[in-house]
């Protein structure tokens, strides 16, 4: 019964949050600058959660997540700007396009582990970038212009909610357990009947799908995309968000994406020091909270040192 009550509470929270922000936008308290930042935060949440599925849950170290986003963004841009397709269709097709790319990068590189996989995915990201730069049909290095703006608060909110809920449900199923088993010990996973190749490719496919959706939302919000926006640094940014929130922790990724976006936003006025402070924050987190800021049991900033109970009765007076 308590579980059901919690579920209802969650639904109410999700709806109320949507209505609240929608209301603030429509009466003008949240102006277009803040709306832009909210959209960016939401896109970052989708990216972080989807990368967390690949890197955090399944343990496949990927540095090519921005490439999946760029595939989604360009697909959506072509479909909406050149073929005038409805946005919902473009959103799904970009997701599937990125997913296909995820499987394509996934299958040949799945023999690789750790650093080697990271290098291979990094190479994949660069290939996508170079192809985008050299294809005139999609604007080449100048970028893709005049993409219709469809993305608004409703679209990003629905996408974020769907991403988080579906990924969380996936993780809590036997498929998700198999992914976690692959991360823990591949040989043992195979010995209990888990097809490790399948689950690695599956994680890439699902993670890439949501990255593609994020790219689609991005393209149809900013009117304009260029290959440079989806470079190596973007992948690193997403990875930092995941590590910041906690490897393998979905809720942590959400909080990580929100707080990192807010940190970088609030430092915008002191542009010279921005990257310095940002780096110091990350540095401190890695030293003191190397498992991520947010544990499964909610929000704990400082390390919780377990108090050891000694049986001192005999020794002391």
């Amino acid at each position: 019964m308590r579980k059901k009550g919690k579920k209802v509470l969650n639904v109410i929270f999700i709806v109320v949050l949507y209505l609240l922000i929608q209301m603030l936008i429509s009466i003008g308290i949240i102006d277009s600058f803040y709306e832009l930042n909210i959209v960016i935060i939401c896109i970052n949440i989708i990216l972080a959660v989807s990368l967390n599925l690949i890197t955090g849950i399944t343990g496949q170290f990927s540095l090519g997540h921005a490439a999946f986003m760029s595939i989604g963004a360009y697909t959506s841009a072509i479909l909406t700007a050149k073929f005038n397709l409805p946005f919902i269709l473009a959103l799904f097709i970009s997701g599937f396009a990125a997913s296909l790319a995820g499987i394509m990068i996934g299958l040949p590189t799945l023999r690789l582990k750790g650093d080697y996989l990271a290098i291979a995915t990094l190479g994949f990201g660069e290939i996508v970038k170079v192809i985008a730069t050299n294809t005139d049909y999609i604007g080449g290095a100048i970028g893709f212009n005049d993409i219709p703006r469809y993305t608004n608060w409703t679209w990003v909110y629905i996408s974020v909610t769907a991403t988080v809920i579906l990924v969380k449900r996936f993780v809590n199923s036997y498929h998700g357990r198999a992914c976690r088993a692959v991360k823990e010990d591949e040989i043992a996973a195979e010995s209990v009947g888990i097809n490790t190749t399948f689950y690695k490719a599956l994680a890439f496919a699902i993670g890439a799908f949501y990255a593609g959706v994020a790219g689609s939302l991005y393209a149809n919000y900013f009117y304009f995309i260029k290959p440079d926006s989806f470079g190596f640094m973007k992948s690193i940014d997403i990875l930092i968000t995941v590590v910041f929130g906690g490897i393998g922790n979905i809720i942590g990724s959400i909080i990580g994406a929100v707080s990192l976006s807010i940190i970088s936003l609030s430092l915008q006025d002191i542009a010279e020091l921005r990257m310095v402070i940002y780096s110091v924050v990350l540095y401190l987190i890695m030293i003191y909270r190397n498992n991520g800021m947010f544990r499964k049991r909610g929000f704990k900033i400082f390390k919780n040192r377990k108090k050891v109970k000694y049986n001192v009765g005999v020794i002391s007076k």
């Binding site: 449900r169 198999a178 976690r180 088993a181 823990e184 195979e190 010995s191 490790t196 599956l202």
Partner: protein, 260 residues
């Protein structure tokens, strides 16, 4: 009736013959011990049985859930044939709870798809709650229930071994392969393990093959012993026969100098 039969099984690593032309049948319901000096090919034999290596020549025929003859066996498919194993160095999923380790052991019996998982269709709840109930039951049998929410890596050594065996049994195998189950155990724990293996064989009705260096354990529980040396099957027989077999003594202790 035999459950497993190796026919002319060989495995080369470059020039080294790790397993050299082995023919052996394993009878149903027996506890079979695999002994031999270091590097004799025992673990290679295990890895061939579970598909981690594929044989250079020869084949293995399983007569378990169905009769399959195989040259190339994928490791994750062995479970479907009714084979489960444990490892020499314990391979638990350390950062997952004891209960989750067992649930992963049930992996091959789940049927629902990814969409069912994401949209929580009825079969998700049905299969998950069945698996949960069975996992609790299995843990209860192994007396690990009181630790079900603890991380596997935090268990003491003996219980980790137990959990690994329990996880292997979760897939409902007909043939259980134990790779040095008593390694690193003290005499008391070894004695408990001996009782555990006997009990498993009776309760779960299966065939057990185990690699072991602890002779007291092997001699006490095995119905049959296979002795390996330099990739060859040197001897096969009951513990009593093996104890008095000259070739076995030679493999372990070497030959008298005068005889040479």
């Amino acid at each position: 009736m035999w459950v497993l039969s190796a026919n002319n099984l060989s495995k080369d690593f470059g020039g080294i013959k790790a397993i050299n032309n082995i023919n052996v049948n394993i009878e149903e319901g027996k506890i079979v011990g695999l002994i031999g000096p270091n590097g004799a090919g025992k673990t290679t034999f295990f890895n061939l049985l579970t598909g981690i290596y594929s044989p250079t020549t020869g084949e293995i025929v399983y007569n378990l859930n169905s009769t399959v003859s195989t040259k190339d066996l994928k490791p994750h498919k062995t479970v479907r044939y009714g084979i489960a194993r444990t490892f020499q160095n314990i391979r638990l999923f350390g950062n997952m709870t004891v209960l989750e380790n067992i649930l992963i052991g049930f992996h091959s019996r789940f049927k629902y798809g990814i969409c069912t998982a994401m949209f929580r269709l009825p079969s998700y709840f049905k299969e998950e709650s069945n698996a949960y109930r069975d996992a609790i039951e299995l843990l209860d049998k192994f007396k690990l229930l009181y630790k079900k929410d603890e991380l596997a890596k935090n268990l003491p050594y003996g219980e980790q071994r137990k959990l690994e065996i329990a996880r292997a049994l979760a897939s409902n195998p007909k043939l259980l392969l134990l790779d040095e189950p008593a390694a690193g155990m003290n005499p008391v724990e070894t004695k408990e393990l001996r009782e555990l293996i006997n009990w498993i064989r009776d309760i779960f009705n299966l065939t057990v093959i185990l690699i072991e260096h602890d002779m007291s354990l092997v001699m006490n529980i095995c119905d049959e012993i296979l002795v390996f040396d330099y990739g060859n099957l040197v001897a096969k027989g009951t513990p009593e026969e093996i104890r008095n077999d000259e070739r076995v003594i030679k493999a372990y202790l070497g030959e008298d100098v005068e005889k040479c």
